[in-house]
Structures are given as C-alpha cells and as structure tokens.
C-alpha cells in the first residue's frame, strides 16, 4: 500500500529528518513506527500525507509515485488516508455525528448515504448512542474513538495513527488497539507511530524503529493473525 524508496528529507534549516528510508507497508498489515522524539516519525507521516515532500527518493501509495502529485491533487490523496491524532483533532462546535460526517461531506456523498455510513462507523467504535452529543462531553477514550470513526468512515485503504493511545490508560489503549486490529484484518494497512514501548510489547507486530532519521530496525513479525 505504501512504499518508501530511498527517501531522504532535509528541512530548509539543514536538519536531516530522514535519511535513505526504505520500507513497504502491505495491505492488511498493522505496523508500529517508533523512535525518540525528533527521530523522524512525524516527518515520515508528513511525507505520506504530502504535508511535506521528500528531498530525495520516492514515496509510492497504491503504486502511484507521490512525487507526481500536484498540490491540487493532494486533497484527493488524503481522502484515501485515515488519520488518527493523539489530540483527536475533533471540532467542538458540532456534534459527534457531524465530526464523523466531515470526510463524507467533503468527498461529496449523498445526504442519505452519509447518515448510513456515519452510523456504521460510530457503531463500529461503540458510540452510536452518542451521535448527537458534542464531543466535549465525551471522555478522552471516547473522543479518541470518535477520531477513529472519522478516520475510517470513508473506508480508506491506509490508516495512520500518531500516538493514538498517548493519553489513555492501558485498558482503553487495548480497546483502541482492538479496533486497529479489526481494520487490519479487513485489509487496511495500519501504521501506528508511538513511543509507548509497553504498547508495542503487548502487541507483537512488525516494528519500524527510527533513530536520527535512519531506519535502524525493521522487525518482521507476522504472528499477529492478520
């Protein structure tokens, strides 16, 4: 689903955020991305989201070279990526339903269709009864689940998560991880950036480790039942 081919990123201030990164994320696989802060995790996610462009090398998504995408095409690329944030990035001026519906509204779904899909996504994360609430009334774990529902509501083939369990206790983290497993099981490529080592230890998955912009470890561990 995603392929990095000798990708380097140097910021204008001269900092090398990524150096010659090579890896591939197949569909249906859940992968952890770890490393200390500043190791390049954020930059790697930004390259996939096309918030940044690589200085060297190529990023492929579903076989398409992202270098060939114009700025105008970026939004259409992003519609194929579900993004889950540590701070949820929910909008508190509208209901849970409207938060989850946003990607569908943007992509131009028919009105009736939106209702069905939003409810399916909320049902999946167990929040169907809270669709009319403002997300500010929800707990941290629930807010994160709303964020996940929004990320998957238009069934993207790729799901990125940036510290998705950062503020959650282990029980809630486990719930969130179960959701990610479910998505991987139906064929979504899931990439979870985290420095929560206990989380990584509890779930034995492929692990990409970055240090100072280099990929120093790519542990293949297929024993996750995908």
């Amino acid at each position: 689903m995603i392929k990095f081919d000798r990708v380097s990123k140097r910021y204008p201030n001269g900092k090398d955020a990524l150096r010659r990164i090579d890896f591939e994320l197949p569909a249906g696989q859940l992968t952890f991305l770890t490393g200390h802060s500043g190791a390049g995790k954020s930059t790697l996610l930004k390259l996939i989201m096309m918030i940044e462009r690589p200085t060297q090398g190529q990023v492929f998504m579903a076989g398409q070279n992202l270098n060939g995408f114009s700025t105008r095409q970026v939004p259409f690329l992003r519609r194929k990526i579900g993004m889950v944030h540590q701070n949820h990035q929910l909008l508190f001026d509208r209901s849970v339903f409207d938060n989850v519906a946003l990607p569908l509204v943007i992509a131009g779904f028919a009105h009736a269709d939106i209702g069905k899909r939003v409810r399916a996504a909320l049902d999946k994360v167990g929040l169907l009864s809270k669709e009319k609430l403002n997300p500010i009334m929800l707990s941290g774990g629930e807010q994160q689940r709303v964020g996940i529902a929004r990320a998957v509501v238009n069934k993207p083939p790729l799901l990125l998560a940036d510290e998705p369990t950062g503020n959650l206790d282990p029980a809630l983290s486990a719930e969130i991880m179960d959701l990610f497993h479910d998505f991987a099981r139906v064929g979504v490529a899931v990439l979870i950036a985290t420095h929560d080592l206990s989380l990584i230890a509890r779930h034995r998955h492929r692990l990409l480790t970055l240090r100072e912009g280099r990929l120093i470890h790519d542990g293949e561990d297929d024993d996750h039942g995908a």
Partner: protein, 327 residues
C-alpha cells in the same frame, strides 16, 4: 467502516468507496448552500462585531452614493434652468409702446426665438411697486424711470446660439441692452462636473476601504477557525472547500453593508427632502427631490457584495496557505 461487509474482505485490501459525479454535483451545490447558511449563522453568532463591520461598509458606501444622488438632482434642476434661459431686452427710454410691440412681433419671427413677451413701462412700474416695496419712493419721482422691456425666449438653449441672438439684438439701435445671464449656470455645470470626478475618486478610495475592512474581518475569522481548517485539510478538503465559507462570509458582509447604505442614503434623503423641496420652490423649480434610481438600488448591494467577495478572496489567498496540518 463496516468490517463485517464481505465485499471489503478482500486480499487486495479494503477498497475506498467512490462517489458518482451526480452525487458530487449535488454535494457541491449543497456545500454552497451550507456555506451561505454558515456565513449567516456566524454573523448572527457575533452580532455586535458583524454589525460593526457592516456599518463601516455601509457608511463608506453611503457617502459617495448619497453625494451622487444629490448631484443627479442638481444636474436635472440646472438642465431646466438652462432651457429657461431668456434674454431681457431693455429698449431705449424713448421707444414708444406701439413700436415696442412691433419690435416684439418682429423678433418673435426669428427662427431662433420661440416667443417674446412685452412688458411696458407702466407694467414694469406696477410690478416693481408691488414687489419691491418702494412704491412711495417711485410715486415721488416725476418720471417713470423704468425702460420698456421685451423678454425674448430663445428656441433652443445651446449657449452659443443664444449668445449669437444676444449680439444680434444688442446691435439694434433701439435696444439699450440685451442681457443674458448664463455665466453662473455654466459655472454651476463646471462645479457639477467637478463633483462627478470627486465622487469617482471618493468611490474608488472608499471601495478600497471596504475591501480592506473585509480582508481584516475575514483574516480574523480564518484565525479563529484554524483548528477546523486543519481538520478539513487532513480529511481531504480541497482549497475550494476550505475557501468557500469565507468567500460567502465576505459577500454577505458586503451585501449587508450595501443594503444598509441604501437605508442610510434613503433616510438622509427623507431627512433632507423637506428643506430641499422648499429651496427648489424658492428657485421656482417644478422639480422635486428624486431619490435613488432603481438601478442604483439594485446595483449598490451587488457592487458592495462583490467588494466583500474580493476582500475575502484576498484574505483567504493570503492566509489560508499558512495553515497546514501539523503533528
């Protein structure tokens, strides 16, 4: 996501869902409608600051619009005056009344003269007595000091031809003086012309002010909706999608300002209407104050809305690019 859907359970990975062109067109129209509604809702949500913006726009536009109306009126009135320009032809004192009538008939036959009117010395004296209040003084005079007068109404009001007529009459031996008072009318025309240009300059300057006011308002709106813009960009909103609500906002501000400026100008005209009509009466004009033309009423809000749209566009293209997702 519906992971239990068997169609999604494919080894090639989940398929992202697609939308038909028709759905997208409908959605596009819906987003326009929603953006307009959103813009209006936000104006209602912060009524005092919205009102300030609208008021500034309204005042900026009411100024040139009001002046233009007054100038239009002045133009219509003076056009009438110009048409009524006439020559007062004073004859020599010793011209007899019969000769006076003969001359008047003769001049009425000129092709540049519409008609003539005879005012004999006796008539002139009576009129003067009645109007001036100097009756007793005039009684004391041994002779009637007033000359015989023929009023000549020219057939057309083009200043050049009237002057030619004036020269022709002045050259006659029995004519003491043929007076034409159009110089001040011409001066007035020049002033109106200047006023026109002035309004042009004023409109340009104040239109720029309207645009800047909207730029600033929209810039603040963008700043306050930063979070939302980031989220919209992350989930794949195009620049157009992000821009649209702000453009509608700008248009609404401009349009509302234009409407309010109509009300301001209308109120001002109503307030001034009485005194102005009185003034016109004093100048014996049949004209009464005319308000804004229907085309102005129609065009002003749209013009103002366009200025708002332009301001919003400038703000959006300047500031929206700065806001990018970060994590």
């Amino acid at each position: 996501m519906a992971p239990n859907n068997p169609r999604a359970r494919r080894p090639g990975g989940a398929r992202s869902i697609r939308t038909s062109l028709r759905d997208r067109l409908t959605a596009w129209r819906r987003h326009h409608r929603d953006s307009l509604r959103d813009a209006l809702t936000r104006m209602r949500a912060a009524p005092s600051s919205a009102l300030m913006t609208v008021l500034v726009i309204a005042i900026a536009l009411a100024l040139p619009a009001g002046l233009a109306v007054l100038l239009d009126n002045a133009r219509v009135i003076t056009k009438g005056w110009d048409g009524n320009a006439h020559l007062s032809v004073f004859l020599e004192q010793d011209v007899a009344e019969s000769r006076q009538r003969q001359l008047a008939d003769e001049w009425a036959g000129f092709d540049t003269v519409k008609r003539t009117e005879v005012i004999t010395r006796a008539q002139a004296l009576d009129e003067f007595k009645a109007l001036s209040g100097f009756g007793e003084v005039l009684e004391a005079l041994p002779d009637n000091p007033l000359p015989p007068l023929v009023v000549v109404y020219p057939d057309n009001s083009a200043p050049g031809r009237v002057e030619a007529l004036q020269n022709r009459l002045n050259a006659l031996p029995e004519v003491d003086n043929a007076q034409l008072d159009v110089a001040w009318v011409r001066r007035l025309h020049a002033i109106i012309e200047l006023g026109d240009r002035l309004i042009g300059v004023l409109t340009l300057g104040l239109a720029a002010a309207v645009v800047l006011v909207v730029v600033n308002t929209i810039r603040l709106a963008i700043e306050s909706r930063r979070e939302e813009i980031v989220v919209v960009k992350i989930v794949g909103g195009t620049d157009g999608f992000v821009r649209r609500p702000f453009l509608y906002s700008g248009f609404c501000f401009g349009f509302a300002g234009g409407m309010l400026s109509l009300i301001l100008v209308g109120s001002a005209l109503w307030w001034l209407g009485g005194p102005i009509d009185e003034l016109l009466d004093l100048y014996e004009s049949e004209h009464s104050l005319t308000g804004m033309s229907p085309s102005t009423v129609l065009v002003l809000p749209l013009f103002s809305g366009t200025l708002g749209l332009l301001g919003a566009w400038l703000a959006v293209s300047r500031h929206l690019g700065d806001i990018e997702p970060h994590f």
